[in-house]
């Protein structure tokens, strides 16, 4: 037993020494810098928040009680065309949070990036109970996992809406848009939005997501419920709006 422990420790020292070796080699090349996402969820020109009354494109009143969405599979594209995937990074965006860690990337010039709204199929069907509680994919993130098909809700939008014909009532009808399932993940492409990761400084991607644009062709009075599987056309309509709902913020 003793001998074994010794061997183990020796190997561990050996192994970590060789890792340090790797880092040394890179000193001549670019540095590695932290990168984060600065994200604002908006309703038109207003910040999205729960309990505030907004107006949709037609002037109809609605509010939000839950608004969360998964962003994943970020890929940064270097000037050379080389792609830097941020594998394993999954964010659960919500109105209250603006800063999300993306990981570390080599410094240099990038010509753009892309990411998914939603999750890749493998991640989408993993067991949500295996993640630690603070992971966005954990079962402790309430109400964002469909247990009957073992998949995540990619974007959850819930609240109350005025359903009167002339839009002259108050938001008292419960609506919900639960958009998910493998088919509805969408790649958001900003492959021509150049940015710089400077040596010795943290980098940031700044994005805005406008809910009004995501619902631009949705008639909230009549189209007010989808669990995706039971109202695929409505879920698809919202997913197809995601690209246009995102915009890169000027630095």
């Amino acid at each position: 037993m003793k001998k074994f422990h010794f061997l183990f420790i020796a190997l561990m020292v050996f192994a970590s020494a060789s890792f340090v070796g790797c880092n040394k080699d890179e000193e001549t090349g670019p540095t590695t810098e932290k990168i984060s996402l600065h994200l604002h969820s908006m309703v038109g020109t207003d910040e999205a928040a729960y309990g505030i009354t907004y107006h949709d494109g037609s002037g109809r009143q609605f509010n939000l009680s839950d608004f969360r969405y998964y962003l994943s599979n970020f890929v940064l594209i270097k000037e050379s065309g080389e792609e830097v995937p941020l594998s394993g990074v999954v964010l659960l965006a919500s109105p209250a949070a603006h800063q999300y860690e993306l990981g570390e990337v080599p410094s240099g010039s990038y010509k753009g990036f892309r990411f998914l709204v939603g999750l890749d199929s493998a991640t989408n069907h993993t067991d949500p109970t295996i993640y630690p509680a603070d992971n966005p994919l954990s079962i402790q993130s309430p109400g964002i996992h469909w247990d009957w098909n073992s998949g995540y809700i990619f974007m959850k939008i819930e609240g109350y809406v005025d359903t009167t014909l002339n839009a002259d009532g108050s938001p008292d009808f419960e609506y919900f848009y639960h958009v998910g399932m493998d088919e509805l993940k969408r790649t958001i492409d900003f492959s021509t939005s150049a940015f710089e990761v400077k040596s010795g400084a943290d980098a940031e991607l700044a994005l805005e997501f406008d809910l009004l644009k995501a619902l631009s062709n949705v008639e909230m009075r009549t189209e007010n419920e989808t669990h995706t599987f039971n109202n695929m056309p409505l879920a698809e309509k919202i997913a197809d709006n995601w690209q246009s709902a995102f915009s890169v913020m000027p630095e």
Binding site: F4, L11, D127
Partner: protein, 331 residues
């Protein structure tokens, strides 16, 4: 690379060694067991993080029959999967919390260790993940698994049982594992048909049942294509022509593919005589009526399997086929 491999190998060996040392003074309930499975059955695949031990099985069994998992503590897994009815409830649709009806018929969970995916539509990939579904389903238990954990932590005996079984306090991870571990011990496979097949006891089946067997496994009935092998299912999704228009889209609910409309996972036929009514919605009451359905060739449906066509069975052949199905009941 080689270094890293060596490192991982050594780490692995050390971990195994430590685990082995720990086992020496551990209680026997913590030892990994071999499941005793019916003759002629393969050994099921079991996830490496949930190998069976007596402590885990005991814990899972207690949870399975405990209404603590439901919002108002009235509904247990065992309320709809009853041992006295071969782990079904012999109802067309099950009764959940607040006397609500489920949308589908509860199938047996005997031999569930072999199911490659769960539910009539195959929407859930593992037995561990399946546990989440009835708990959050508003028609069944209508509760939150995180609140279940809070209850379990406060319970008089569960925390200790979890410590023994999974070396941790109650968590969603450990309680879903425990229930799945128990479910994987539920086998069925000792019918007169098995006696005939494996014990070579030719007197185990009557002449009528033998004739039914030929119809079932031959071109007269074509049943074996879907209901084949040791569990009388190939686990495929098929449309057997129950309806022209299905109100339940079945497999298409998961794949969203219209070609999967009305396709359901082929059910096992073991103990089928004891688990009426039949089909995903419990719409057929008796085995005689099931055979009548197949004999008619079913309803017209674009997704209906080509194997479902009028069979032209005589009255006595229909009886023989029913008698054979009844010989699949465990002795």
């Amino acid at each position: 690379m080689v270094k890293r491999f060596l490192f991982v190998a050594v780490l692995g060996t050390v971990l195994i060694q430590q685990w082995a040392c720990k086992k020496e003074d551990a209680d026997p309930g913590d030892a990994v067991m071999e499941l005793s499975i019916p003759v002629g059955f393969p050994y099921p695949n079991i996830p490496s993080d949930n190998l069976p031990t007596q402590n885990r099985i005991d814990l899972g069994k207690m949870l399975f029959f405990d209404p603590i998992l439901s919002r108002d503590s009235t509904v247990a897994c065992g309320s709809c999967h009853l041992p006295e009815h071969k782990m079904t409830d012999v109802l067309a649709l099950s009764t959940g919390i607040d006397s609500q009806k489920t949308i589908r018929n509860a199938m047996t969970i005997l031999n569930v260790a072999y199911q490659p995916y769960l539910f009539w539509d195959g929407g859930v990939p593992t037995l561990e993940q399946q546990v989440l579904a009835p708990i959050s389903n508003p028609h069944e238990m209508d509760y939150d698994v995180n609140l279940v954990v809070e209850r379990l932590k406060k319970h008089a005996v569960y925390p200790d049982m979890f410590q023994k079984a999974y070396d941790q306090e109650p968590t969603v991870y450990s309680f879903t594992r425990a229930i799945a571990c128990y479910e994987r011990t539920l086998f069925t496979g000792k019918s007169r048909y098995d006696r005939f097949l494996y014990d070579k006891d030719s007197s185990a089946l009557t002449p009528s049942e033998l004739n039914g067997k030929s119809i079932f496994f031959g071109e007269r009935g074509e049943c074996f294509h879907c209901h084949g092998e040791y569990n009388f299912t190939d686990y495929s999704f098929r449309n057997n022509g129950l309806y022209e228009i299905y109100t339940d889209s079945g497999r298409a609910r998961i794949t969203l593919d219209p070609h999967d409309n009305g396709k359901f996972k082929v059910p096992s036929l073991r103990n089928v005589a004891l688990t009426p009514p039949y089909m995903h919605d419990g719409s057929i009451a008796t085995l005689e009526a099931v055979v009548e359905h197949y004999n008619s060739g079913g309803k017209a449906n674009p997704n209906k399997s080509g194997l479902i066509k009028p069979l032209g069975l005589t009255e006595s052949e229909k009886k023989d086929l029913v008698n054979f199905l009844k010989a699949l009941t465990d002795e």
